[in-house]
């Protein structure tokens, strides 16, 4: 039976979706449209007058060494976070798959970290990695300068990557576990009969069959790291020390709202948007289509 509502009045369906459409319009299309407009104009900080300047904002960005430094740290953060989150989630899922079969309770419990707001995670990890408290203060006492994310850019980046991947691990784990449980049991049993031990089976059978899940998660993790990392950076490092964690979303915020360069920030946000669109395109075009076995 087809489950499909039919409406007599042609207006009613539109009215029903109107609230959703309004929300999407007000919080997505309108700001995005404005961002595009601002990116090609020059806005006076104190209001009044807006001037069409063409590609000038973009040219200024592309010659800025700060901008390229920001792109670089964004890439380090995104790839570092995604790699760590995927590898750890995959290992957890592989080992738990051997014990837990189809337990829904586990999945719910393990997806919670993903639902925790980034600033809250940021606060917790700031305390965990604080150079003047806990384990790290002891280590610093033994060997001064061993760990200080407020002074050392590399330390700050490592701290951010840990916090960011902690959240993504939960998400990735759920997908990997679901993927593993959808691999027919006889396949791993056949490999066991063929003489492969547990690690060999993971390498030869389970991991290759997880390839579709793997590529899906790479794209999702990268997108997430590029866009959703603002909360973490703002709480934990504020982009410092010395711009070492000034990743693209955070730079957009600080240029626009602290430096009051709306036009430059708008141009940067357009570039970031295009990057995300490109990743999404890759996801749909290649990953979803190609990575299928039968």
């Amino acid at each position: 039976m087809e489950r499909r509502a039919t409406f007599r009045a042609p207006l009613l369906p539109w009215l029903l979706v109107l609230p959703q459409l309004l929300i999407v319009f007000v919080f997505f299309y309108w700001p995005s449209g404005e961002a595009f407009r601002w990116a090609f104009t020059l806005e006076q900080p104190w209001g009044g007058g807006r001037e069409w300047v063409g590609w000038q904002n973009f040219l200024e960005i592309f010659v800025s060494t700060h901008y390229w430094a920001s792109v670089r740290v964004s890439m380090i953060y995104a790839f570092g976070t995604s790699a760590l989150a995927i590898v750890i989630a995959l290992l957890l899922a592989l080992f738990i798959d051997r014990e837990v079969r189809g337990s829904r309770g586990w999945r719910v419990a393990l997806i919670w970290p993903y639902a925790v707001a980034a600033p809250a995670i940021g606060m917790i990890f700031r305390f965990v990695f604080d150079a003047r408290a806990g384990v790290f203060s002891l280590l610093n006492a033994v060997s001064p300068g061993f760990w200080d994310p407020s002074m050392n850019g590399t330390h700050a980046m490592v701290m951010l990557i840990f916090a960011g991947s902690w959240q993504l691990i939960a998400y990735n784990f759920v997908f990997f576990l679901a993927g593993l449980q959808s691999i027919p049991r006889p396949l791993t049993e056949a490999a066991a009969m063929d003489g492969a031990g547990p690690l060999r089976r993971m390498r030869d059978i389970q991991v290759p069959l997880l390839a579709p899940t793997f590529f899906f998660l790479v794209v999702i993790n990268l997108t997430d790291s590029f866009t959703n990392s603002f909360g973490l950076v703002d709480i934990m490092t504020g982009g410092g020390p010395a711009r070492a964690t000034d990743i693209m979303v955070y730079k957009i915020y600080s240029d626009g709202f602290k430096g009051l360069d709306y036009s430059g920030a708008a141009a940067q946000s357009v570039i970031l948007m295009l990057l995300v669109v490109a990743l999404t395109f890759i996801q749909f075009r290649f990953v979803e289509r190609k990575m299928r076995y039968r």
Binding site: A191, A192, M193, D194
Partner: protein
């Protein structure tokens, strides 16, 4: 000598017992078929032999050595799964060669061996394909190849033919049998298809509810079923089962309609029994029956009739001499062909099938 010995082997899943202490000795080099209805524990038994399930109690020996604690790969068994379980991301050649690769065989040697096995299964042209690009019968052969390539002592098959269509199934059945002759290893095949069991087996094991009902050659099991269950499960159409009563003296039965049936040998039991006779053994005689339905099987017809007293009976008749619906006729139950069972325990009662009594044939004194 036996290839596989099961000594009091039991399997519990939590509080549920799937296999209740089975004792079996499976002969070396034989084609063994484990037959039983769905859920009776056949797969569990096979998987315990393979090492894919732990053994709760008892001992498993392969080639005389205790195997309970050994890993699957150390048991010298290869297995063909119901859905073939081919690795979907590997080509046919990689699938067949995988056991050798895991064993660390060098590439050139491995390829030669794979080519040899593939040739024997007529898979030579398909070596570069993925399992997704093969037909059911081809997948079946690849699964066979993967099992053969390590030259195991024992082949285990879990319902290997159940996913094929009827014609291919018969063809693959022959192929399995031919392969068995060629390889000379011991084969153990699990199936719920009684015809498959009858045609493939040298040694047939019939299971029910986690217990062995009967084991022997298919001929033995078919002609002397040890229980009502085996009698009904083997043969298609299945054996006629009629309620009867043993009269004083023990050599005469009274059927529900009051008619008497002479036995070849006297029974020790008195009272109620179940009388069994296969449809192909019913002859003409003095037992009145009325034809209810006639099924055309092509080569012959199967007649469903009702005996006086209400019991149903089916029998074969040549297509040319097929009776019409509603026709009254007289049936004969040759004493040598009768099987007798205890209706409460289901066990076989006495040896009645003796060749020398066959000639005594058809006398049915009507009461």
């Amino acid at each position: 000598m036996s290839a596989i010995d099961l000594i009091g082997v039991r399997k519990d899943y939590g509080s549920q017992t799937a296999i209740h202490g089975i004792d079996l000795a499976l002969p070396e080099g034989a084609f063994i078929v484990i037959l039983g209805p769905s859920g009776c524990g056949k797969s569990t038994l096979l998987r315990m032999v393979a090492g894919l399930e732990t053994i709760t109690a008892g001992e498993l020996r392969i080639g005389g050595h205790r195997m309970n604690e050994r890993e699957p790969k150390d048991r010298g068994c290869a297995m063909v799964f119901q859905n073939y379980a081919l690795y979907p991301h590997m080509t046919v050649a990689e699938n067949i060669g995988y056991p050798l690769k895991v064993a660390g065989m060098r590439r050139a040697e491995r390829q030669a061996r794979v080519a040899e096995v593939a040739a024997s299964l007529e898979l030579g042209a398909l070596l570069g394909r993925r399992p997704g690009e093969l037909s059911g019968g081809q997948r079946q052969r690849v699964a066979m190849g993967r099992a053969m390539v390590r030259q195991p002592r024992v082949f285990l098959y879990d319902e290997p033919l159940s996913n094929l269509d009827a014609r291919l199934r018969v063809q693959m059945r022959l192929e399995l049998r031919r392969l068995h002759e060629k390889l000379g290893a011991t084969s153990v095949l699990v199936t719920h298809d009684q015809q498959e069991g009858m045609t493939l087996a040298d040694h047939l094991v019939v299971m029910k509810d986690g217990r062995v009902e009967q084991a022997g050659t298919p001929r033995e099991v078919y002609s002397r079923p040890a229980s009502l269950f085996v009698a009904g499960f083997l043969g298609s159409p299945s054996m006629n089962l009629l309620p009867a009563e043993v009269l004083e003296g023990g050599d005469t039965l009274r059927l529900a309609g009051g008619h008497l049936v002479r036995l070849a040998e006297p029974l020790a039991e008195r009272g109620r029994v179940t009388l069994g006779i296969r449809p192909e053994h019913v002859t003409t005689g003095g037992l009145p029956a009325r034809v209810e339905m006639v099924e055309d099987l092509g080569a012959s017809v199967l007649v469903h009739a009702q005996l006086e007293g209400g019991a149903a009976i089916a029998f074969h008749s040549p297509a040319e001499a097929a009776p019409a619906r509603g026709e009254e006729l007289g049936l004969g139950l040759p004493p040598a062909r009768l099987h007798l069972f205890d209706p409460t325990t289901g066990r076989r009662l006495a040896a009645v099938a003796r060749a020398e009594s066959a000639h005594r044939g058809l006398d049915f004194p009507v009461a």
